[in-house]
Assembly symmetry: C2
Homo-oligomer: 212 residues x 2
């Protein structure tokens, strides 16, 4: 069977799917690209995914997926033994689905609209205000997730792909120090997941420790 | 068994979940509220869902769901015979998952950030620019979905909950006339789904025809 191909960029949301691919133990290749830089790599990405975003996942049958939560649910379909999601008959399944969609439907878009605000409105004070308000919204969303966090995993005793999201996303703005202070339960979930050797390895590849 | 309770507001995304509840044939009650209006109904909503958004779904066991795509996947778990999603072993499953997440992770947020732009940035020209750019983004996302639309359903011969999203969302800005002109395949999918008597009934309840 042809391997999966994950097109990503170090430190991006593709790290979550990279962890899931490793845990699902399906054959895959990684194509890291500077996805915003014009050139042949971006041209190929745009041909596969006109939105030009990573992660983009090419399946063994050629189907192209562009949404990380969909990739997670798909990998759970093909490798349920990895435990990326609770099975349909488990009581924590509904909560898993809800938090997964909250992460990608509410928190992710705060990066779309808050990362580069002059892309969306007048540069200067109006863009600064947009950034500030979207960042406030993001903080509220994380604090709501904090209230729902279990221990040692998001779902309590059961590991799931939610832990992979939290592990990667706590490396993003506003950064690990903010999470340690404001969302200690999420920080604890992230640290627990990073104990898993495969998760740790992908984390190091995507967020290399600073060198001299 | 206690019925599901769907807290919604006529014409909102709750209409999609209302259709799914009817098609899944699970006992449920509808609580329509003016969800933004201060008062006891909003207080109860905020207690269940601190984000104060509809749809909010209270499950028979008391669990609260707040994300429509998660509700759809949950209802597929409890009533697979309704065909809301393709089963895990079907080739169209990956595309279903990807388009479902695209709808709620990319298109839905254009309403969050584009509907009331003075909430996000300086009122006046900067807010107008934000609205215009977010609306442009929404149009691009719909046109990308148009390229992926099958016939007569989003997935081709197989009905799925994607058709419910398209049926409801083509009633939203920029409106049915825009979809007819710019996204005729999506308009056709919407019309086809609205042939189903249960879908038609929920559609009429949420978007009543104008009266004298």
């Amino acid at each position: 069977m042809k391997p999966y191909e994950l097109i990503g960029s170090a430190g991006c949301g593709s790290a979550i799917v990279e962890m899931a691919l490793v845990l699902a133990d399906v054959p895959h290749t990684l194509t890291d690209i500077p996805y915003l830089k014009p050139g042949p790599e971006r041209d190929r990405l745009l041909a596969l995914n006109p939105l030009g975003q990573v992660p983009t996942l090419v399946l063994p049958d050629g189907e192209v997926m562009t949404e990380s939560a969909a990739m997670i649910l798909h990998l759970h379909d093909v490798a349920p033994q990895a435990g990326l999601a609770p099975p349909p008959d488990k009581p924590e399944r509904a909560r898993f689905l809800n938090l997964l969609i909250r992460l990608v439907g509410a928190i992710y878009p705060t990066f779309t609209y808050g990362d580069d605000p002059p892309q969306w409105t007048t540069a200067g004070a109006p863009a600064d205000l947009l950034r500030e308000r979207v960042h406030t919204r993001r903080a509220e969303l994380w604090q709501e997730l904090e209230r729902q966090a279990g221990a040692p995993h998001m779902l309590g005793r059961r590991f799931s792909a939610l832990d992979l999201y939290v592990t990667v996303m706590t490396h993003w703005r506003p950064g690990p120090a903010w999470f340690d202070t404001t969302c200690p339960a999420l920080s604890a979930v992230a640290r627990e997941a990073a104990q898993e050797p495969n998760v740790a390895r992908v984390l190091r590849r995507n967020f290399p420790p600073p060198t001299e």
